[in-house]
Every structure is written in C-alpha cells, then in structure tokens.
C-alpha cells in the first residue's frame, strides 16, 4: 500500500494495515521463551520475568517447559561441550518460527571460561543466534533490551518475496546437525552453515 495514501487516510482517522504488519505485530508481542537455564545468567533471566522487571509487558512471560510450545530459546549461561548437543536438539524440536537469544559472555563466546577444555566457545557455532547480549551476567535490563531488539527484528520480517525469513522458505532447513561427543572435541567443532569466523589477515 502506498505510504502517502496511508498517511493521508490516517489523517482522516482511517487506520489501515497490511496482513504482514498484523502478523508480525501478533508474533512480536507473544514471544514464548523456552524455560531453561544453563548457569548463573538464568537467575537474571528469572529476575527479568518476575515482578520487578516484568517481562509480561512484552508478552513473553509464558516460559514453556516444552520446546514444542516455545518460540524463543534464551541460551542463558555457559554451554559446556557435554550440554551443546542437548541445546541443539532442543532447538531442533522447537517449531518454526523460532528465535535464539544468546545471553551472557559464556553463551556468546565462552566468556571467562573460554580457555576451559570443556566449554563451547559460543552457541552460535551450531545454531543461528538472533540477538547476542554481552555481560557477566547481563542485568535484566539488558535482557529486556534484547527482547526489544528481537521484536524490532520480527517486525521487519517480510511475509513474501526473496527476503522472507527462513521459516517461510520451504527449502530452508528447520533442523541443524546435532554435534557428536567425540574423542577430543565435539564433532564437528562448528557448523559452517551458520558460523563463519572472520578470517584473520596479518600484515604483509
């Protein structure tokens, strides 16, 4: 719909919208997170859902105990290599459209335990992460900011056309390969389809 016509109509008191806007408006205001925490960030996540920070303002207070009913996975805490396959499997079991917030330094990069032999250096090696929150742990306000960022992201998603998100494309995968617990490390150590580390270019 023409933007000028829309603004003209709204001046006359006629509110118009598109199916796409209505769809995204509904989705962004009812993001149901999966209720699972991995480490201390989960405490901040719980605090964010309680009365003081009140995640219910974003329609996201309904923490689901089953991945089948969840829209959003908040990876809150250190992902150990033993836990990573379970996290990926839980992500696979969520229905589309699904989103991921990596909460805290550990979930986005390994954080203070990055050098640990058993710590995964960021969950974005295996599943596509929509919002990264730094912090150790991030305060509930940071999680609220991540929610608002995710809402903005959902609001901009197209319903049709080449730019439409993954869950509307029939060929795009919904499940990502679950890493195996190998002899020395997880196999594969990362999923190249979702994680392309920047190539380090040293001086000539």
């Amino acid at each position: 719909m023409d933007e000028g016509l829309r603004s003209e109509l709204s001046k006359q008191g006629v509110f118009t919208t598109t199916l796409e806007d209505l769809y995204n408006w509904g989705r962004k205001n009812s993001i149901w997170p999966l209720g699972f925490g991995l480490a201390c960030c989960a405490i901040e996540m719980i605090a964010a859902s309680m009365a003081r920070w009140d995640l219910a303002r974003f329609g996201a207070e309904v923490f689901r105990p089953s991945p089948r009913q969840a829209d959003l996975m908040i990876v809150a805490g250190t992902v150990t290599k033993k836990m990573a396959p379970q996290v990926v499997r839980l992500y696979n079991q969520m229905p589309e459209p699904k989103y991921v917030i990596a909460m805290g330094a550990c979930a986005i990069s390994g954080g203070p335990f990055k050098q640990g032999y058993n710590v995964l250096k960021g969950i974005d090696r295996y599943i596509p992460v929509d919002v990264h929150i730094p912090g150790c742990p991030p305060r509930p306000e940071a999680l609220l900011h991540a929610f608002m960022t995710l809402q903005r992201k959902i609001d901009e998603q197209a319903l049709t056309g080449a730019q439409r998100p993954r869950h509307l494309v029939a060929e795009a995968p919904s499940e990502y390969p679950v890493p195996e617990f190998g002899e020395h490390d997880l196999e594969p150590p990362s999923n190249p389809a979702v994680w392309q580390p920047p190539v380090l270019v040293r001086g000539e």
Binding site: S66, P67, R68, P85, Q86, V87, R89, L90, N92, Q93, P95, E96, P97, L159, H167, L168, V169, A170, P173, S174, E175, V178
Partner: protein
C-alpha cells in the same frame, strides 16, 4: 400479537456461536499455515522425548509390581480389625445368619493370611 418464545432457541444460537468462536481461529490458522508456512518435519522434531536427550530403549518395559502384597496384608491386619471390633461389641444381639456371614468374611481373610504366610511375605528380609 404474541411472539412464540422458545428458550431453547437461544441456547442453540449460543451453542453455534460458541462453536464458531472456537473453530474459526483454528480454521484461519490452518489456512494460514497452508498458504504461508511450509511444514518442516524432521527426526529431532518428531522425536517422542522432548527434553534434549535422546530416548533410549523401549517403552514396553516390565515394572516390578510388589505393592499388591502390602495392600493384601493391610486388608488382613488393619481393615479386618475395623470390622471385628463392632462385631465383638454387638456379638450378644447377633442372629445366627449374621454370625455365619461374619465367619465367612473372616475365613476369606484368614485364607489370604495363610497364602501370604506360605509365600514368605511375613518374614523380614
């Protein structure tokens, strides 16, 4: 002119409205899914267990059902007392038929006691 008043008509109308209220969003969601969002099943998504771990083994396993022994022993030693005490109190005024009925009841329970004793349930292990 008197309008014929049927209270059941309102119930019927409300029933239809309630049905539509429930079914219309479901139908719309189904149509939306048909039109826009493709189905994406997969081995993980269709898995029975949904807690991240893979399910192991078969669901058809045998459980050891031992609780029935406690139920039978409870019946013999506790429930029996509840019946025997009033029986003893009212013993003087009972008819012969009531006495025989009570004896049959006791016999049934004693039979159970003998069975349990023979099975070795009463020995502490």
């Amino acid at each position: 002119m008197a309008v014929e008043y049927s209270p059941y008509l309102f119930i019927f109308v409300l029933l239809v409205a309630a049905g539509l209220f429930a079914l219309t969003p479901l139908g719309l969601a189904w149509l939306w899914a048909k039109r826009f969002s493709p189905r994406k099943p997969g081995p993980d998504k269709n898995a029975i267990y949904e807690c991240g771990l893979e399910s192991k083994g078969d669901a058809w396993v045998q459980f050891k059902a031992e609780y029935y022994l406690y139920a039978i022993i409870f019946l013999i030693f506790d429930v029996e007392t509840i019946f025997v005490l009033p029986f003893a109190v009212a013993f003087g005024g009972l008819s012969a038929g009531a006495f025989v009925a009570m004896m049959i009841f006791l016999l049934l329970l004693v039979e159970g006691l003998v069975w349990a004793w023979q099975k070795g349930v009463l020995t502490w292990k």
